[in-house]
Symmetry: C2
Subunit: 249 residues, 2 copies
């Protein structure tokens, strides 16, 4: 609706990938260099962009605002200490995803102790059919909401184990409800697997999920399964902090 703002946002997207020169920005937007300059300058004066050796990148105001935004989410503040404790315990990567309106978003990540770090996901929407947290939330959603999700779901294949069949996916969701937890058996990336457990609010509705993720080489599913009691306990603790009465779902 506003061309100018659209261009400014596009510029921020460009900066997020990697630092860009004014020329690159202008070329990408298809505008004159002077136009690009004025947009970038505006971003810079607002702290949304900053120069870095002959190029521009995302500015710190942006970082600060985003951080503030995450802290405003209901789940993050109550869950965080629990997640840190959980991360401590096994040294694996811990993710928290929250159900926000009609999408599921990664809200917190606690890095594991290994040298490798998972490609980061905070702020990104969860892919429901290839992630533990996605399946955990989806499975425990109430009927109409789940159907709304499923309706707009596509099933692109990422690995051999990716579930690409809607019917099989529904079966998987049913299984998850039954046992109370979900897993990702290398369905997004071959060498990564995880287990995930849902989090409940005061009214007994799913609000998100917590997952323990690890390289298969480091901790295969069987090993992660051993952490399920701890993970379930953590999610119960978070849920109780949210006012959950504590009944089994």
């Amino acid at each position: 609706m506003s061309q100018t703002v659209e261009r400014a946002l596009r510029i921020l997207e460009l900066f997020a990938e990697r630092p860009r020169s004014l020329g690159e920005v202008a070329a990408d937007l298809g505008v004159h260099r002077s136009t690009a300059l004025r947009l970038v300058q505006t971003l810079e004066r607002g702290g949304f962009a900053r120069p870095v050796d002959g190029r521009y990148t995302v500015g710190f105001r942006m970082v600060a605002i985003a951080h503030q935004a995450v802290e405003q989410l209901d789940l993050h503040p109550v869950a965080h200490p629990h997640l840190v404790r959980l991360g401590d315990r096994y040294g694996h990567t811990v993710h928290l995803a929250q159900l926000v309106d009609d999408e599921i978003v990664y809200v917190t990540k606690v890095d594991g102790r290994g040298a490798l770090r998972m490609r980061s996901r905070v702020g990104q929407p969860v892919d429901p059919h290839t992630s533990g947290v996605g399946k955990a939330v989806l499975a425990h959603l109430d009927q109409p909401a789940r159907e709304r999700f499923l309706a707009r779901l596509t099933y692109p294949r990422h690995t051999d184990t990716t579930i690409t069949d809607p019917v099989a996916f529904r079966a998987e969701l049913a299984r998850i409800v039954e046992r109370g937890w979900a897993e990702d058996d290398g369905e997004f990336e071959d060498f990564v697997n995880c287990v995930a457990v849902p989090v409940w609010d005061a009214r007994g509705r799913v609000v998100g999920a917590v997952s323990i993720t690890a390289l298969r080489a480091l901790a295969p599913l069987e090993r992660l399964h051993e952490h399920l009691p701890e993970l379930t306990g953590t999610c119960a603790a978070i849920s109780r902090d949210l006012g959950w009465p504590g009944d089994p779902p």
Copy 2:
């Protein structure tokens, strides 16, 4: 330079504080509601804003971009695992600040185990005269850069212990260089104190600092001092990961 973009950024700032209705936005910007609507819609379609029960807030694209930006910083990725380990050890809050151009910015925070969480600072510029990390970096900066910092420094008082005298501040910096670490004795907030140690790069220049922060009631300075060997070790490890030869400064 671009009024429209300026307004869009202003809107994001508003959303960061708390969710806003269109009317509030329009009022704050001093524009017609329809104008505000079109700007907000543009932000929303870009994922930079999102509706939340009758109001608008910061969108997740914003969060994702900011996160990506932080990961691009040189210090963050190498330092993070060390910080987590340090946080584990004592359960106190750990901050990492990085020197970026002519400012020092909080880049990472590892929350402590206590129920209380520090008011968050990631992405925010460090106040050099009231923070451990600020003083640690400033003290070890090369002469000209330090003078440039000092030149534009004001010394607003926040607490009884805030250093408000430029001369006293220089003396403090000298003391910090001598002993190799800095402290914040409730200089920003009465009840919070911290110790901080600088981080070096391959060429032996300060690139940032790490601090261990705690409520005074929980861990007074004397207690934090006991953690200095560990903190110094962590900073040395980070510095070595950055290519620091390992000579004492």
